[in-house]
């Protein structure tokens, strides 16, 4: 039942609004609202109960193992949330003077330094509000870099076909054309194809490493050389940074610019879709173009201050009204502080250990790995193509049935090049028990699929709803309640 359907005329949470309605003065009548907006009309208890119960219809890290590949669903420390929610942090206005902002600025400054160190880059701007906005910032910097050199012919961005959808979408948002290149059966990029498309029209290449195939791109140095030799730049999509945190740095691999997904690698909560934070880091060449604001120090080093377009005249500009997702930045800072040097090193190690262990268990149980000859990184791909063909049970069916077993499904049907695939990312914060439990569930479902495919293809049975009619949703669009309808 919708909150609107629990409404009754005249109800609202009376403790939450001024006790009397103040008079309005000096506003011409035609600018005033004539009819009330149809918002819910409910008591405080009704609202609390409604949304508490809604929340109970979700899977979440706090309730379930959630091995969603490419999303890094690791434990979100409650301490980070607590620290960021201290009254002094919550009440700071984004435009408060620096005299009243030194506490916050010092956290931002330190995080900038930490991110530089872990990525091996020369400069960082924390302002992008998610990975995709980081990409936009990064690609815009590549564009600005070429333009600043008068090199205006570079109109193409190369993207491996396994790339996340945001990569090509971003390139287009920055006015580039996209050139997709294939991936080889072993998961590495097709170097010949790359050499074919690279040229004076190449602005750069966007890639992740490890790639979304869950393997480390071994030819990275050659790719780097190829693109650089052609005058292009290398963009690193940091969504998979968790795999290599403390093990290998993008800067050392030859990347010129990258974004990080702090909501992945730095464990800030995903919030049912967001917010995230997508800082960009750059090598020396792109330093002048970083988006503002950034935190620097005053000349005498005595306090922190905002750097803006006066300090960075070639900046690509600002990407939000204020400082991006400031509170997420604070949480990521806290996470870095809690882990420290040693903890950050271990993120890559244990996320990789967990993925390889699961991959081995799955392979031993007869599931087909997409890249059986390769090491898994922090994630790996299983293909259920065989099951789909012979049993009529697809990856989506396995996914839905997993819900009944109390596990969130892995990412399905991504990357697009592997048929009927599961991209499985356990993360380092899961215990061996959960990993084994998941594999056991997969084995059980496999058995069900063999014995009674219908059982699996009609799953789930234990959720608030059964499978939903997506076609109807798109065709008979119902995206807002109205009491009239």
């Amino acid at each position: 039942m919708l909150i609107f359907e629990k409404s009754s005329e005249g109800r609202y949470a009376k403790a939450q609004a001024p006790q009397t309605k103040a008079a309005v003065s000096g506003i011409p009548d035609h600018l005033l609202r004539k009819e009330m907006a149809e918002l819910p009309e409910a008591s405080e208890l009704q609202v609390v109960r409604h949304f508490t119960n809604l929340s109970r219809k979700n899977f979440a890290i706090d309730t379930q193992f959630y091995p969603l590949g490419s999303c890094t669903m690791k434990y979100n420390p409650r301490g980070a949330h607590r620290a960021a929610s201290l009254p002094g942090h919550l009440s700071r206005h984004p435009l408060a003077p620096e005299s009243h902002s030194q506490g916050y600025l010092s956290c931002v400054y330190e995080l900038q330094d930490i991110l530089k160190e872990v990525t091996g880059m020369a400069g960082v701007s924390l302002t992008p509000m998610a990975g995709a906005q980081g990409e936009l910032a990064g690609v815009a910097m590549i564009k600005a870099y070429h333009e600043a050199r008068g090199d205006t012919e570079r109109q193409e961005i190369i993207v491996p076909e396994a790339a996340h959808g945001t990569n090509p979408a971003t390139a287009v948002m920055c006015g580039f054309k996209v050139k997709e290149i294939p991936v080889l059966p072993d998961g590495d990029v097709d170097l010949d194809a790359l050499k074919d498309v690279v040229g004076p029209q190449t602005a750069g290449i966007m890639m992740t490493n490890p790639s979304t195939c869950g393997v480390f791109e071994r030819q990275i140095e050659e790719i780097s050389k190829t693109v650089h030799d052609a005058g292009g730049l290398l963009y690193y999509d940091g969504a998979n940074l968790n795999a290599i945190l403390g093990k290998v740095r993008p800067g050392d691999m030859g990347f010129d610019v990258l974004h990080m997904n702090l909501h992945k690698t730095f464990a800030t909560p995903h919030g049912g879709g967001g917010p995230g934070s997508g800082p960009v880091a750059v090598g020396e060449r792109l330093l002048p173009f970083l988006p503002t604001p950034i935190v620097g120090k005053t000349k005498d080093d005595s306090s922190f201050r905002w750097l803006d377009e006066n300090d960075l005249p070639n900046t690509i500009g600002r990407l939000s009204a204020f400082m991006g997702n400031a509170g997420i930045i604070l949480r990521a800072y806290v996470y870095a502080v809690l882990l420290g040097r040693d903890g950050l090193h271990r993120v890559g190690e244990f996320s990789t250990l967990n993925a390889n262990y699961m991959a081995k268990l799955m392979a031993d149980a007869g599931f087909k790995l997409a890249y059986p000859e390769r090491r898994a990184t922090h994630e790996f791909i299983v293909t259920l193509n065989e099951q789909a063909k012979t049993l009529g049970v697809t990856a989506m069916d396995f996914a839905k049935r997993l819900l009944d077993y109390g596990y969130h499904a892995p990412t399905t049907y991504f990357p697009l090049l592997v048929p009927e695939c599961f991209l499985i990312e356990p993360t380092e914060t899961e215990s061996i028990d959960e990993l084994e439990g998941f594999v056991e569930a997969m084995i059980a479902i496999q058995k069900e699929a063999e014995e009674n495919a219908d059982l699996v293809t009609h799953a789930p049975y234990t959720q608030p709803v059964k499978r939903l009619d997506d076609v109807k949703a798109a065709r008979e669009l119902d995206v807002a309640y109205s009491s009239a309808s």
């Binding site: 690791k74 408060a96 945001t166 917010p275 990789t352």
Partner: protein
């Protein structure tokens, strides 16, 4: 090491099963000369206790001032219930609702959110959020350019009274596609945009006209006339609005003869703390016609195989994960948690509560205006109607007056002189329902004292 659960025994067993001798061996595909050295510059880890002590000290450093800055971020009372529920693990630690059956909580909530934003703006379609108001405006511009069938232009027209940081953000984003944003000058004695100011642009090909209600100065625009003018010119009309004000002011969907086409704005006033600027969220609503141009996620109501109602991501063919380079936007992660808070906030307040908040904020600002009338060296920059902000002109340099007020722990407003030199020494002052009469008196006192300091200096 705080969050890695592995015991020595676990590690041994896992390595054994995998068939390697060490964790390090799992990285053997990485060229060894690339392997990272110890991250010396990262300090050693702290326990949660030590971390909390540090963060508390830092929070304390920034706390304690009485804040009259608005300029796009507004301090309102946030009911305790809002974040108590928003931060339940099930909302906070879930991801994008890809598995609809296991995400009905988030999905239904967003559907309800869409319904509320649609009701407030008077436009039928809302998405599930954009990053913030400023970047949301950039998306609105891109939408208008794609969606305006009458115009082939890559130009849009923006009122100079639209938030300067929004205009900067829009430019950083859309100029990558070669889109240009031309500015309409405002009337500097009224601090709004009379239709006469648009005369120069009559007959030109622009994809959209952007206006703000209230505008950056807190002043009200004649949105009906502006909207009708834009439409007459074949432009789409984009309204930048403050959601609280929509409980008092006319909805964009009702502006002029046929209503604005897109309404966009900063959702922060709806239950989101100031928190240094984020996470907030951008809302965007549009007409039915523009739905396929909408960026970001949209939730639809449908039924399950038993015919039971349920909710799911819909019109995904607009999105990057399906459409890749042909998507309406590259947005993926949005501001879901802030939307959760806003939905609970709006449900608690309802229209009646929200309109009390809007009226009280307006009345407080009117009251402060009238108290300031008596202060020497201070002039109200315009006599036009305002919502809950207004521009003060000072006969001393704004920067030093504000600094002096800040020393008295009163943040006196936002210095607009840098953005609008034509207004000379001017500050933008905001009052919301959280300010008591005592607070207003403190403001008047602090401003008076600061002006005297400046006198003496």
């Amino acid at each position: 090491m705080p969050f890695v659960p592995h015991t020595e025994k676990d590690i041994e067993k896992m390595l054994d099963v995998i068939g390697v001798d060490s964790i390090d061996q799992l990285f053997d595909e990485i060229p060894s000369h690339l392997r990272a050295k110890p991250l010396h510059k990262v300090p050693e880890g702290l326990s949660e206790m030590d971390m909390m002590r540090r963060l508390s000290e830092r929070a304390q450093q920034d706390a304690g001032a009485l804040c009259f800055i608005g300029a796009g971020a507004y301090e309102h009372h946030i009911p305790a219930a809002v974040w108590d529920i928003t931060t339940r693990g099930e909302f906070m630690t879930a991801y994008t609702p890809y598995q609809a059956e296991a995400s009905q909580g988030t999905l239904q909530l967003i559907y309800e959110y869409q319904s509320m934003m649609s009701a407030l703006t008077g436009l039928p379609i809302s998405n599930a959020s954009l990053y913030d108001g400023a970047s949301g405006l950039a998306e609105a511009v891109l939408m208008a350019i794609r969606g305006n069938r009458k115009s082939k232009s890559k130009r849009v027209l923006v009122a100079g009274s639209v938030h300067p940081l929004y205009r900067k953000t829009v430019e950083s984003i859309v100029e990558n596609q070669g889109i240009s944003v031309d500015e309409v000058t405002f009337d500097s004695s009224l601090l709004n945009t009379p239709v006469s100011a648009l005369a120069d642009f009559e007959g030109q090909d622009y994809a959209a006209l952007i206006i703000a209600q209230p505008n950056f100065f807190g002043t009200l625009e004649d949105v009906d006339a502006l909207t009708d003018w834009g439409h007459a010119q074949g432009m789409l009309v984009i309204g930048v609005v403050n959601p609280t004000s929509l409980a008092l002011l006319s909805a964009p969907g009702t502006w002029g003869e046929t209503g604005a086409d897109i309404a966009v704005g900063e959702g922060q006033p709806l239950g989101i703390p100031l928190a240094s600027g984020g996470p907030y969220f951008g809302f965007i609503c549009c007409t039915d016609k523009l739905v396929r141009q909408m960026p970001g996620r949209i939730i639809g109501r449908t039924i399950d195989t038993d015919g039971k109602p349920g909710f799911t991501l819909t019109l995904q063919a607009r999105e990057q994960h399906i459409r890749r380079s042909k998507a309406t936007s590259n947005i993926c992660t949005n501001q879901g948690l802030a939307v959760t808070a806003a939905t609970i906030y709006m449900s608690l307040l309802g229209y009646e509560g929200l309109s009390r908040v809007a009226n009280a904020s307006h009345a407080g600002a009117q009251q402060l205006k009238s108290q300031l009338a008596g202060v020497a060296g201070v002039t109200l920059a315009s006599q036009a109607s305002t919502f809950h902000e207004f521009i003060l002109q000072l006969d001393k340099p704004a920067a030093s007056v504000l600094a002096s007020m800040a020393e008295r722990d009163v943040l006196g407003g936002f210095n607009v002189s840098d953005y609008y030199p034509e207004l000379n020494s001017a500050i933008l002052v905001c009052v919301t329902e959280v300010k008591t009469q005592t607070d207003l008196d403190k403001y008047v006192q602090a401003l008076g004292d600061a002006l005297q300091d400046a006198e003496a200096a």
